[in-house]
């Protein structure tokens, strides 16, 4: 019988005490696992969300706010920029540096079952030309559709939805939905869009969004600039903006025909969900909230960022989403993670002290067993090792159960976290830091087991046998 087996049997013999001390260790380790894995996933996911393009260009204001609203569909959108500015990337001075520019119009939402999802008005290029992430070997991964297809540019009221939206709302291809004006659930309902595609899960915040054809979005009530307000594109007060993002604009939906008539541009046409021909909003009456810009190279991206941000007359700012994410993680997430990690490690230390107390308190009752083993030929070192092994077994078994519990907890929480934040938690994802846990627990157990082991070492055999 090996020393490990003897230690294991001793543990089994004191089943209740062993289970309780092991469980306390398991809970502590589970907490550590949750902190480590969740941080690792959040860190990676946050970085992954902002892949596929170099810059986000939007109205001047908080760079972080722009990243949060554009990439993560959180926070309020910044003040919009004119459509003409977007055209600088497609046919203007920035076009030579730009590979793909995808406009975003934000500000609408869709609510179902107490959850509100953002509606992003954009062009089909988002799904056709942007790769949302890369594989480990660097191969880019583009958007694919679980069901249906991308919306077409001439089908003004087509939309596609993210996987989480589909799961949570039950919406599917062929269904229609009415976006709500504003990002709260209590705004006015807009005209309906038809869902033509459901995206495969991407593990990004886009799983939680609905993507509508921008052409249709512009035709919705309150989304167009009045012709007479074309020159009124200077920035309003921040307070006004926060109070009502689109409130200063004139509701134009009923008067689109008249606005088209007064415009110099040749009208473009598309179709609504009834198949009827409708005219697009003149570009002069359009704005965009932000633009995702994929440059021809990293160097081009650096140049473009400089050109935009150093221009004192620019109405926009360019932000590298990755640098903002790094800043976000470094400023907020990492310190919180550190605090949580310290707290959970304290829980593990308390559990380890529990093991010490449990074994040390039992030394009196087991001194006879130790003496018998000594009488059977066990050396002092042998009984010391057996006691140490018991501490290590308790700690490691508790630790292993804790690792399993931690991952199970992550698995249980995953659907809720994904539905609320778009961050996909994978219960089978292990972090390299977890590898340190078991050796660390062995060392910790050896430390807390040392005093009881020393007590075993010093057991007076003759006295204990009497």
């Amino acid at each position: 019988m090996s020393f490990w087996k003897i230690a294991w049997r001793n543990m089994q013999h004191r089943a209740l005490a062993s289970t309780l001390t092991g469980l306390s260790m398991a809970l502590g380790v589970a907490a550590v696992i949750c902190v480590i894995v969740v941080h690792s996933i959040v860190d990676r996911q946050f970085s992954q969300f902002a892949q596929g393009y170099h810059l986000i260009v939007g109205g001047k204001g908080g760079a972080m706010q722009m990243v949060l609203s554009t990439v993560y569909h959180l926070d309020k959108a910044l003040y919009p920029i004119p459509w003409s500015y977007y055209e600088q990337f497609t046919e203007g001075e920035y076009a030579s540096l730009t590979d793909v520019a995808v406009p975003y119009c934000l500000g609408d939402s869709f609510s179902a079952d107490d959850q509100t999802f953002r509606v992003v008005a954009t062009t089909p290029d988002l799904f056709d030309k942007i790769q949302y992430t890369t594989q480990a070997d660097g191969t880019p991964i583009g958007y694919t559709f679980r069901d249906g297809r991308n919306f077409k540019s001439d089908q003004f009221f087509e939309a596609v939805i993210g996987s989480v939206v589909a799961t949570h709302t039950g919406l599917k291809v062929g269904d229609i939905f009415n976006p709500t004006h504003g990002i709260g659930a209590d705004g006015d309902k807009h005209e309906e869009f038809k869902i033509v595609g459901v995206l495969e899960p991407t593990g990004t915040a886009n799983d939680r969004a609905l993507f509508a054809n921008m052409e249709g979005f512009y035709l919705l009530e309150g989304h167009a600039l009045a012709p007479e307000d074309k020159k009124k594109q200077e920035l309003p007060d921040e307070a006004d903006y926060v109070a009502d993002l689109f409130g200063w604009r004139v509701a134009l939906f009923d008067g689109i025909e008249s606005s088209i008539e007064t415009d110099d541009e040749a009208p473009r046409y598309g179709y609504n969900i009834m198949g009827e021909r409708v005219a697009a909003l003149p570009e002069s009456q359009r704005e965009v909230t932000s633009i995702l810009v994929l440059c021809k190279s990293d160097m081009h991206a650096g140049t473009l960022e400089l050109l935009i941000n150093k221009n004192p007359d620019s109405v926009a700012q360019a932000v590298s989403p990755l640098s903002q994410v790094t800043k976000l993680l470094g400023t907020f997430v990492s310190p919180i993670q550190l605090v949580l990690l310290v707290l959970t490690i304290l829980i593990v230390l308390v559990a380890a002290i529990g093991i010490f107390v449990s074994i040390y308190n039992s030394m009196n009752e087991r001194s006879r067993d130790i003496a018998v083993m000594r009488a059977l030929g066990a050396s002092r070192l042998a009984v010391m090792l057996i006691t140490l092994f018991e501490s290590i077994l308790l700690s490691v078994c508790g630790g292993l159960v804790g690792i399993a519990m931690g991952h199970a907890l992550i698995g249980l929480a995953s659907p809720f976290v994904e539905a609320r934040t778009g961050v996909a938690l994978d219960m089978f994802q292990f972090d390299v830091q977890e590898l340190i846990l078991i050796p660390a627990l062995v060392v910790l157990a050896a430390l807390v087991g040392f005093l009881p082991a020393l007590s075993a070492y010093r057991t007076d055999v003759a006295k204990s046998l009497n």
């Binding site: 018998v372 000594r374 002092r380 003759a462």
Partner: protein
């Protein structure tokens, strides 16, 4: 086989005074011999057994078992020697409650540094009539069965010498004889010398050689 020579052993009392327990000029035991050691309570019987087993060190003298003077061995050496060559049966059996009968016997083999032999452990339990109780824990065994396991455990490593410290003291008279018979037969069949401490004359009367500690220990005699 066992030669105790000029052994002296004292304990220091809390008052600081030295209390001599053993002063034995000579005591011998031949290979396979079965000897009863008697003496009044507190005269040093258990101290002598512990000294022979190497559990207690002596102040002077030599204790030779097969020409190995265990008093000259370091503690680890004494532990190893005890594991390989000495079996010990206690008054209260001292089976480990966490282990089955078979494991208790195997435990006797654990500390020898040699290969453990589960087959021999099972055979020994069979020999003491417990082949049907191999996987029972001590609390599921009767007092008599527990003592039989203790005997099997003491013989697990084919020792040269078996020390039995009042092995029948806690057993009812009906089982006493069974245990004595078992010890004698087992030692005989394994050619193991036995030194048995007892107060019971009905036990000692069955042995050819009975030693009184008062006669071999000068301290006890005084």
């Amino acid at each position: 086989m066992l030669h105790v020579e000029k052994v002296r052993k004292s304990y220091r009392e809390p008052s600081g005074e030295e209390l001599r327990i053993l002063d034995i000029p000579e005591f011998r035991l031949a290979t396979g011999e079965q000897v009863v050691l008697r003496g009044r309570s507190g005269c040093g019987k258990t101290t002598l057994l512990n000294s022979i087993a190497g559990l207690t060190t002596v102040d002077a003298g030599a204790i030779r078992i097969r020409d190995v003077d265990i008093t000259r061995l370091p503690e680890a050496g004494r532990d190893r020697f005890r594991a390989r060559h000495i079996g010990y049966v206690f008054q209260t059996f001292n089976l480990l409650a966490a282990f089955t009968a078979l494991e208790n016997v195997m435990l006797g083999m654990t500390f020898t540094g040699q290969r453990r032999d589960p087959k021999r452990a099972a055979e020994l339990l069979e020999k003491v009539g417990l082949s049907h109780r191999l996987h029972h824990k001590p609390q599921a065994l009767s007092v008599g069965e527990q003592q039989r396991v203790a005997v099997a455990r003491a013989l697990a490593n084919k020792p040269l010498l078996l020390l039995a410290d009042e092995p029948t003291a806690n057993i009812d008279p009906a089982h006493q004889q069974q245990v004595i018979d078992l010890l004698r037969e087992a030692c005989l069949s394994e050619s193991v010398a036995m030194l048995l401490v007892t107060h019971a004359s009905e036990v000692s009367d069955q042995f050819e050689r009975v030693e009184y500690l008062e006669q071999i220990n000068r301290v006890a005699a005084a």
